[in-house]
Amino acid sequence: MTLKELINKALFLEILKGMALTFKMMCSRAVTIQYPKQRRRIYAGFRGRHAFVRDPKTDKEKCIACMRCANICPSQCIYISKKKRPEDGKLYLAQYDIEALRCIYCGYCVEVCPVCALVLTEEYEYSAYTRQELYFTKEKLLENWDEFAAKQKEETYFNKFWRPDGLDHSKMPKGKREQGPVPTRRVVAQPESAPETPEASEKKETD
């Protein structure tokens, strides 16, 4: 043991250094965010609860049932079924479910969607008591959008993952290339009576 080490030991220099550090830390500001009262700022590109963008023209989802999201999903938690419409033989989206409990929030589905129909919103407080509540159907996904859009202060919203930075935008599908910010206020007035049935709305779409 050298003399220096001996002096170090005898005078507790290392411990005193540590104590100086903890004292300095005590005088610094705590980093705690007092969660329900204070919230962390959410940055663009936050991936939270899933939602279907409500198309301002039709007041419905924009999904074209292309299956790209269901195929790319790493955890395979998107279930889509399409049906042929008897009148004109066109395919339409019959069922679209996202099992949020299995989702890993990678955002691939949002990136891959050619019509920017899907979005991972900035909503993150949606815990539930039952699994059923976190199994998002087509209707629930639209509701999620309404809830999210109502909280937005801006009139329009654009998700970062619809046209991610660093990718060649010219090679993207037309719907993606031309996608502008979507309005967060409902343009089409809500019907006063009971909500229309899927069949009725499909007919309206074909008009």
Binding site: I15, M19, F23, M25, M26, R29, V31, T32
Partner: protein
């Protein structure tokens, strides 16, 4: 006052009764105040350590979490008191009371300020050492009585630790005793007033450092909290305790901290007095009641406990024993001899 006390009549019996009444009131006051301090010492600890770890500490119960200790107390009080089926029941049940008894009775001899103490006995220092020795019994009793391997190992460890460090602690106090020429705590405080700096901290700095380290070990605090090493022994000797009995151990530990800090203040920091030089320079300070200085000095020590806890990691068991026997005891002993020689020569 005399009319009020007249109900006891007059004569020697009455005097005795009145004195008894006064002592009981004093005991009640001291215990109540200490308990309140203990409650808020836990709050203070959580806040200090929280801020040292760049957190906030308790914030929810009351403004800035000020009612947290009360909520904790109520919770502990209403919890179920579980006694393990295979436990040695009487030993298990008595152990926490021994712990709280030993630490609370230490408060009896501590002079808080000029004339406020429960007992002014000539062997005050010895009594304090005896009481901290008694506290070791509660550790071994709870370790044995719980009939659990964690408790047992924790109890054994803490007994070995407390006994080893008690020697160093006693030696560091012996040098104070030699300097003051008395074991009476009030006389020790008064003896310190003879110096212009008014505390034994200056001539007895070695003894003070030994005392500080031994004090941490005596109260089972970090870095010497091996008896309750969470990562190895769950909660050490009070693993099997719950509810009120657990709270008693907890109280015992915190009262122990206050007692140890008080001993440090009385023996090294000049108790409730200020250094004469300070009073000479700033005369108005003499008007401040002594209890304020006493509490201030005690809280500096309690802060030191927390500060160490937030800084230093736990010692390994063999290193702890090596530190106690190979370093602290020889250093304290050498200091005693040096003090005695200096006292003898001058």
């Amino acid at each position: 006052m005399n009319e009020l006390l007249g109900v006891f009549g007059s004569g020697p019996t009455a005097t005795f009764l009145i004195e008894l009444l006064i002592i009981i009131v004093k005991i009640a006051v001291i215990i109540a105040i200490t308990m309140l301090h203990v409650a808020y010492a836990t709050y203070f600890e959580r806040k200090v350590i929280g801020h040292m770890q760049v957190r906030l500490g308790p914030m929810r119960v009351g403004p800035h979490g000020l009612l947290q200790p009360i909520a904790d107390g109520v919770k502990l009080f209403f919890k179920e008191d579980i006694i393990p089926a295979q436990a040695d029941r009487p030993v298990f049940q008595i152990a926490p009371f021994v712990a709280i008894f030993a630490t609370l009775s230490s408060l009896a001899v501590i002079p808080f300020f000029d004339l406020f103490y429960l007992a002014n006995i000539n062997i005050g220092l010895l009594y304090l050492l005896a009481m901290s020795g008694l506290a070791a019994y509660s550790l071994i009793m709870s370790g044995w009585g719980s009939n659990s391997k964690y408790s047992f190992l924790g109890g054994l460890r803490s007994t070995a630790q407390v006994i080893s460090y008690e020697i160093a602690l006693a030696f560091s106090l012996v040098s104070v005793m030699i300097m003051a020429g008395s074991m009476n705590l009030i006389e020790i405080v008064m003896a310190q007033q003879e110096y212009w700096y008014g505390m034994y901290l200056v001539p007895q700095i070695v003894a003070y450092i030994v005392f500080l380290i031994a004090m941490l070990a005596e109260t089972n605090r970090t870095p010497f909290d091996l008896p309750e090493a969470e990562s190895e022994l769950v909660a050490g000797y009070f693993t099997e305790y719950s509810g009120m009995r657990f709270a008693l151990f907890f109280l015992g530990e915190y009262v122990g901290m206050i007692v140890m800090s008080s001993i440090a203040v009385v023996c090294f920091w000049g108790g409730w007095t200020l250094p004469p030089i300070v009073v000479k320079l700033i005369p108005p300070l003499a008007a401040v009641p002594g209890i304020i200085w006493f509490i201030l000095k005690v809280y500096i020590h309690i802060f030191f406990f927390y500060w160490i806890r937030a800084t230093v990691p736990r010692y390994r068991y063999d290193k702890l024993m090596a530190l106690g026997w190979k370093i602290l005891i020889p250093v304290a002993l050498a200091n005693v001899i040096a003090t005695a020689l200096v006292k003898f020569i001058f």
